[in-house]
């Protein structure tokens, strides 16, 4: 289970462009490293991360070994209705993670 930190402003004006920041604790194994027995450590990166805003997909990232360990992403969305911002991701090992935050939109 990966630990993540999702930062979303708790309140926004209607139509405002808000920053979504997420940092996930994940080694993002490249597949090029070896352990102390000389065995290759298999590649394990978060290959798919989806951001949904009230159930509608607004952002998606497919990451590879070129993304640094403990991936950090900052992107924007337009706040138009109060609701939830949900993030779901899955890594090469099939392990899933998620984070969500509520946002209140004021007129």
């Amino acid at each position: 289970m990966s630990i993540a930190r999702l930062q979303v402003p708790s309140q926004a004006k209607r139509g405002e462009i808000i920053d979504i920041r997420v940092a996930i604790q994940h080694p993002m194994e490249t597949g090029f490293r070896r352990n102390n027995l000389g065995q290759a450590i298999p590649k394990n990166t978060i290959n798919n991360l989806v951001c949904r805003y009230n159930g509608v997909e607004v952002f998606r990232a497919e990451m590879g070994s070129g993304i640094a360990a403990n991936p950090y992403l900052q992107f924007t969305i337009v706040a138009d209705t109060s609701g939830n911002i949900e993030l779901d991701w899955v890594d090469d090992a099939g392990e899933k993670g998620s984070a969500s935050a509520a946002i209140q939109v004021v007129a």
Partner: protein, 162 residues
């Protein structure tokens, strides 16, 4: 009060001319660098072809920001942004981040929608060595735009099998 006597000024002039004479060797370097930036590096071409399916990639619209000197290749901050109204009819659909010398050329593929507000992404990447990083944006109308940045990496992110 005069700061320079006339012969001191003459010396300065001579020094200036001598420095100018060296310029022909120095000046072509930045020009060459710029020329090479317009052409994608060979190692990126196969990945780029797969992305564009033969469509032309133009320079402009997209802006890639990476510090020129990355001390540690394990963690290189990066910001990519594209000029776009981000409306349903005209928005950025995908941004690809490509590297010239990493073992895998595609760093990330990021998809945006009209709901994104701005086509902008801040993240942190790994770089195997000093190289150029290319960002390619695919618009909703199917056109491709790119930007390239050169990065000097002093400590590689690849300790094995680069």
């Amino acid at each position: 009060m005069r700061l320079y006597s006339s012969h001191m000024l003459r010396r300065r002039l001579i020094k200036g001319v001598a420095a100018g004479a060296l310029l022909p060797w120095v000046a072509p370097l930045p020009a060459q660098e710029n020329a090479s930036l317009t052409e994608p590096a060979e190692s990126i071409v196969p990945a780029l072809k797969q992305i564009t399916q033969g469509a032309a990639v133009r320079r402009g619209k997209i802006k890639l920001e990476i510090p020129f000197l990355a001390e540690n290749g394990h963690l290189v901050p990066l910001k990519v942004s594209v000029e776009s109204p981000m409306s349903a009819a005209d928005h950025v659909s995908v941004i690809y981040l490509l590297s010239e010398k990493n073992p895998r050329p595609v760093i990330a593929k990021v998809m945006f929608t009209a709901h994104s507000g701005r086509a902008e992404l801040v993240t942190r990447i790994r770089l195997a060595m000093a190289q150029r990083v290319v960002a390619v944006a695919q618009m909703s109308d199917g056109s491709f735009w790119s930007d390239t940045r050169e990065v000097v990496v002093t400590e590689t992110a690849c300790l094995d099998a680069t």
